[in-house]
Symmetry: none
Subunit: 205 residues, 4 copies
Amino acid sequence: MEGILLAAEQIVVREDFDALSTRAVAERAKVPVATLYQYFADRDAIIAALIDRHVSAMDVRLTEAVAALGTYSVRSLAQVVVDAYVAGYRAHPSYVVLWFQGRVSADIVARVRERTSRLAAQFHGFALAAGLLKPDTDVLVLEVAADAIDGVLDMAYRNDFEGDPRVLDAGIEMIVSYLERHATPPGIAGVSSSDLAARWEPPGE
Amino acid sequence: MEGILLAAEQIVVREDFDALSTRAVAERAKVPVATLYQYFADRDAIIAALIDRHVSAMDVRLTEAVAALGTYSVRSLAQVVVDAYVAGYRAHPSYVVLWFQGRVSADIVARVRERTSRLAAQFHGFALAAGLLKPDTDVLVLEVAADAIDGVLDMAYRNDFEGDPRVLDAGIEMIVSYLERHATPPGIAGVSSSDLAARWEPPGE
Amino acid sequence: MEGILLAAEQIVVREDFDALSTRAVAERAKVPVATLYQYFADRDAIIAALIDRHVSAMDVRLTEAVAALGTYSVRSLAQVVVDAYVAGYRAHPSYVVLWFQGRVSADIVARVRERTSRLAAQFHGFALAAGLLKPDTDVLVLEVAADAIDGVLDMAYRNDFEGDPRVLDAGIEMIVSYLERHATPPGIAGVSSSDLAARWEPPGE
Amino acid sequence: MEGILLAAEQIVVREDFDALSTRAVAERAKVPVATLYQYFADRDAIIAALIDRHVSAMDVRLTEAVAALGTYSVRSLAQVVVDAYVAGYRAHPSYVVLWFQGRVSADIVARVRERTSRLAAQFHGFALAAGLLKPDTDVLVLEVAADAIDGVLDMAYRNDFEGDPRVLDAGIEMIVSYLERHATPPGIAGVSSSDLAARWEPPGE
DNA sequence: CATGAATGAGGTTTCATTCAT
DNA sequence: AATGAATGAAACCTCATTCAT
């Protein structure tokens, strides 16, 4: 079962998403196709499991990276998020393909969207409590920003398997400029972690 | 041959991109499958032809929309580009699917990228001649912006078949803020078309 | 094990005979598939057990119904047999499917045939002893009649899940007309149960 | 395409109906499986084509046999119908399996039923015009009789691949006794073909 | 006695493409 | 130029059964 997911990941990274067929996974994992169906209801379930892994790993990375920040500002938050993704993609190149091409069934799309909303809500709560965003800032702003980060990463990785750094930098610029419209002066200038009014909480399941 | 492309477009818009099989196209066009191969080398060639149509139509729209502007600024340019795309998608819903899911073969990807570069170069030439961007602005800036617009549209249409207007607005905001970093004061404030130092030239084939 | 057979029955009645897979049975019985093989040699053995249940239940019904008759004639016997089956099918709709589609392996076919012969012999012995059929009537006549009743029921239930009453009535008419060719005058006119020369014996296992 | 149907027939007669898989047909016909789908929409279409052949051949046999009768009575009609089927089954043993196990999809069931109705109507029209059945005889009687003949044949062939002649004879007895209840005296005694008031017409499509 | 895990064999269907006519 | 016919390859999935634990 571990082996199956590993094989699926390897296929995705060495070939492309469309190559992720049950046959190919089975062959690479060196198990009969029927064995796949012991662990996964169908092909979509394999993709979903892969994406879930990705999401979990990314959430851990993100949480830790944010917690480790020395200075909190909308810029440093945007930067740290993008950096976490980039680090994650570097460690597991399959994530790039999975994340941007794997939203294949309605079920998976819904799960990814739900997760984006959860993240946005978490950042919204934190940024407001910490005084980085104006008190009347709508959650929507963070949802759009989250989507934008997703889009920037898509752009950066679409044509460049390593993630085009110019696109990444430009993307961060764009997002920061958008967020700063809703930021407080400290949210723009930055607040030292020791002066922070709120604690960053890891997301619960 | 016209009929074949028409059929292909209808399939893409009524079903989805994966439904664009040679058999489906032939059936809808009411020609035998073998006949497709008289006009197109293979399935990818059909997709490429479809995308070429899209690109041509969009380029015409874009060119005309830019030429018709009353006031030129980086903001009005960004806005008019996004508007042109939105209008194009509204007129031909198949474009949404084609554009964001049709980049299927390396050949097609290369063509799309080449076209983005061409557009970016054109805008770069115009904006510099018209004094909207600082003279030392690199073409890169406009390529990144062009990619960003593409990404914003992708975001806006990914989850919402009509194009999420909030995402579109936020996206324009982001792009404008990025471009204004490289803009001249008139590029920010806007220049009346009658005072324009340069002419906007339609792109040649 | 009771649960397994119950599950199998439910599947047959809610879906159809082809849905009676080991997996489906195990799932519905909430036991692992492997556990089925503790109680049954293979899939056919489950079907056979199901049919055996059906046969036993039907035999009990039949025996009691015949024993309860007030007047004995070939007509009343044919009628009571068909009625007993119809009542059985009404009580256990799974029997319809099982009986007419369940003869799947040579083993099961042989068992069903053996049972038909047994029933025919029993009726033959009784009818002769009771003076309802001419003394020289061959067992064959009753075997054919038994098969005919089976056929009539098949006909009646093949197209109509409730059993087409017109077909049932016509079928009884046909069988009676056939049996009356071999019947004695009392076998046609009917004999009161109190005047009966022979006792109806329940079939032994 | 001829070869495909031939192969399908051979499989049905040498193995059984469940062995009629696309793979098996293709193998025996020595064509790739994909070729089947050039001529048949799916597996059911193959079965349907087989049954259609059967029906057509049987209808021809039936029509000719009835037309060749010297004496017309309900008995001779019942006999000739059963004889025609028996001769058909002898010539093409696959028909037995097809006819009694091939009614697998709703579509096929409907077609078979429609054909039975057509035949019944045809016999009804003829027998009334020829004065063999009482003028007020309902079509229903002939539909039930047609079903009964079907049932008798099923019985006769179910356990005996050659068709048990005792069952066939007994079956004819049953059907005749049923039909004679609705027959006119000439319908019972028989009418010479030269004295017949009506002509037997082949069924049109 | 119970069962998680594994699996070989097979099921139906679709695909893009070629080629002789 | 047009096309009917053919097809190799692959897609996803289900099945009954075994066996080591």
